[in-house]
Assembly symmetry: C2
Homo-oligomer: 416 residues x 2
């Protein structure tokens, strides 16, 4: 008998039919003799309706009251799911974040979990109950309801798995796992059986929408295996686990991309110490996340700096850049919002040389120009023109043979 944490997202409990189906999955696990904690999100529909109501009342709602409002969404989900489990002759009990002992700091809308009081949880588990916990929410030191921000329900699940020493934390979602590339773009993209935490982190950071980085980071820190799998099929998904030796045979685990990119450049900045620091300080102060940075000297005494940002902050960034241009007497600020980022991720890169040069050659052969490059130990990213993005993802997936399972024969790439 093991303890398992299962997390179901909002799309998994979107209506009565789906809630009943989720109850079946839960009961099946329970009947294998496991202890079970289930974390559930609000449905997207509920959250959107609540956001709309708030927007009708005030443009910028009070953050505390926003958490009070939105947390009602998960409360609805846990109640309905518990009813569905009980209707199928299994004992369940729903707990709000506060009741489940999820303690957070007092930062509304994006609270951090500071600890979990497990007494009530353990008591109900001991009674043989399936414990259904509201994701995304907790309670502050002042006993106010807080929410954890984006990816908050995953975080609740991982944190519970940590403190309860769960065997695995299963993340049920509407995709069946993590793929070697976006299956909407690459037809023969393959579901990966295993990924290391670091690979998953790189992928999360690169726009793969399966899980937020903060939950993967916590799973990595406390070494809790994650199993990302589909609510709508029984097949095994992708297990995220700590690095094991066999993983290194896989040089590249996946191709990811991010089309939400702008390349911003400032030309002929005076080349003095502290200039770059000043520039990025100003951006950081306005909470603009900068991704890749390139600095180059065109001629003596002046510098060019380029960096990438998300398209949602283009206007804000441009305003700041124009101020800086004036202040520092730079020559020009310009941007290109028709760029995108394509990346290769693989823990095997650590021990295999030549991945980067192979990537550049493949893109060059397709006449795709690389505008910026950045690398980590297990990732290579290139900024290219957006019009070349699909071609780049497909050719990289093909040339690195990601459609093939390691040590298996080439499976036809034109089938699915």
């Amino acid at each position: 008998m093991a303890l398992i944490v299962q997390k179901f997202g909002g799309s998994s409990v979107a209506d009565a039919k789906k809630i009943k189906a989720v109850a079946k999955i839960i009961i099946k696990t329970k009947e294998k003799g496991h202890q079970l904690v289930v974390v559930v999100s609000a449905t997207g529909n509920t959250t959107n309706k609540l956001l709309k109501l708030a927007a009708e009342i005030v443009d910028v709602p009070c953050e505390r009251e926003m958490d009070m409002l939105l947390s009602a969404g998960e409360q609805i989900s846990i109640a309905l799911l518990s009813m569905a489990i009980k209707a199928q002759k299994n004992d369940a009990i729903s707990l709000t974040g506060a009741q489940a002992g999820i303690c957070t700091d007092g930062v509304y809308n994006k609270a951090r979990i500071t600890g979990i009081k497990t007494k009530k949880l353990k008591k109900e588990l001991k009674k043989g109950k399936i414990v259904v916990v509201a994701g995304f929410q907790g309670i502050s030191p002042g006993e106010d309801i807080t929410t954890l921000g984006r990816g908050g329900s995953d975080l609740t699940a991982v944190a519970l798995a940590v403190v309860l020493k769960a065997q695995v934390c299963e993340i049920y979602t509407d995709v069946s796992g993590v793929y070697t590339a976006d299956p909407r773009i690459v037809r023969d993209a393959r579901k990966t059986d295993y990924l290391s935490f670091d690979e998953m982190l790189e992928m999360a950071g690169l726009g793969a929408q399966v899980m937020q980085a903060r939950s993967v980071e916590m799973a990595k820190k406390f070494n809790v295996d994650l199993h990302i799998r589909s609510t709508f099929s029984q097949e095994k998904g992708t297990v995220i686990t700590k690095e094991v030796s066999c993983m290194e045979d896989v040089v590249v685990s996946g191709v990811t991309y991010d089309a939400d990119q702008v390349k911003m450049s400032i030309i002929e900045l005076p080349d003095k110490p502290g200039i770059a620091a000043h520039l990025f300080n100003e951006l950081a102060k306005k909470e603009i996340n900068v991704d890749m940075i390139i600095q180059s000297s065109a001629r003596d005494g002046v510098n060019n700096i380029s960096f990438t940002i998300s398209r949602t902050v283009l206007k804000k960034t441009l305003d700041i850049m124009n101020e800086i241009k004036k202040k520092l007497r730079a020559k020009e600020v310009f941007y290109d919002n028709k760029v995108a980022k394509v990346s290769l991720v693989g823990v095997g890169m650590k021990s295999h040389a030549g991945v980067a040069s192979k990537m550049f050659s493949i893109l060059a052969a397709e006449k795709i120009n690389i505008e910026m490059i950045s690398t980590s130990e297990i990732r290579i990213s290139c900024v290219i023109k957006e019009k070349n993005l699909l071609k780049a993802v497909r050719v990289l997936h093909k040339k690195f043979k990601l459609n093939q399972k390691l040590a298996k024969k080439n499976i036809s790439t034109r089938k699915s």
Copy 2:
């Protein structure tokens, strides 16, 4: 400076526009320098949607989970109302039943308030905040969310008024007070300025839908004035207060009616001790509330018993009665569901004789036959044929001159 409790029902906060209007009322009171606790209900729309969701999942939902589900409704209301108050530059804080310290027993769906921990409430009031409390809900000794059942939000408001020693508990609703008769039936029905707790209790019990009896009972017990008034106008409503001497000048305060009546009769029961007790015990066991009872001996050794019940329990009652008929060898069971009850209420009846006989004479003059009679110290009720109900209400209202304020000239009855 006084402390005032204001309660707003679900219809008062049904949409953003209404919520903003309610915030205006609240702020107006606050600006008079009062401390303010506001109790708010879920909107009917929210509650209905949640009930529908539950019904789609299971026929008879678990009571604990039902409370978890429904309490989300008030949580939404308090968050939105607090946002609206804050948007109008006043400081407010929302508190769930649990956060407001509303302690109840553990009976889900119809919990009783056992006490209120006022520490948090008083702390926030001291800071000058308008405290917005979720009505209808509390927390059990096991720290589960409970709901208080019908009229629960009124009860929350009255209980808070009691423990906080409020000057008055204002019940805002969609009518402007308590009328001498239902204004939909009696065109010149008049809003009463004052009623005693006992009169209000009789009226609540007689189908006047303004407030549930349990809240009035608590207000009476702890002597908290209630002020029933309209959310949608500024006029003074009806104040419910303890009996004061001037009230006794008003002999009759109102005519009420209840069309939801069935007269049930069992004929030729053996006239033995304990027979009636047995009959009404069986009904009580099935939670059937019996109102008026008449027992008469038609001839020696046999008894006839008639009583009234609500139409919703007709089928259930009939089944029980037929069993009893067989068991006790009575001759016959029959019912009349075309009856209704009309009542006069007035604290002045205590000291004024002749009200009953005047009522009977008025009805007789209209050829309205009285089938059953029951009285209390401040009420007289008659069961009549339903077809005569409107006529009875109107003629009693007219003949007892309820359209006239005491000691004022007759105002034209044909105007409004």
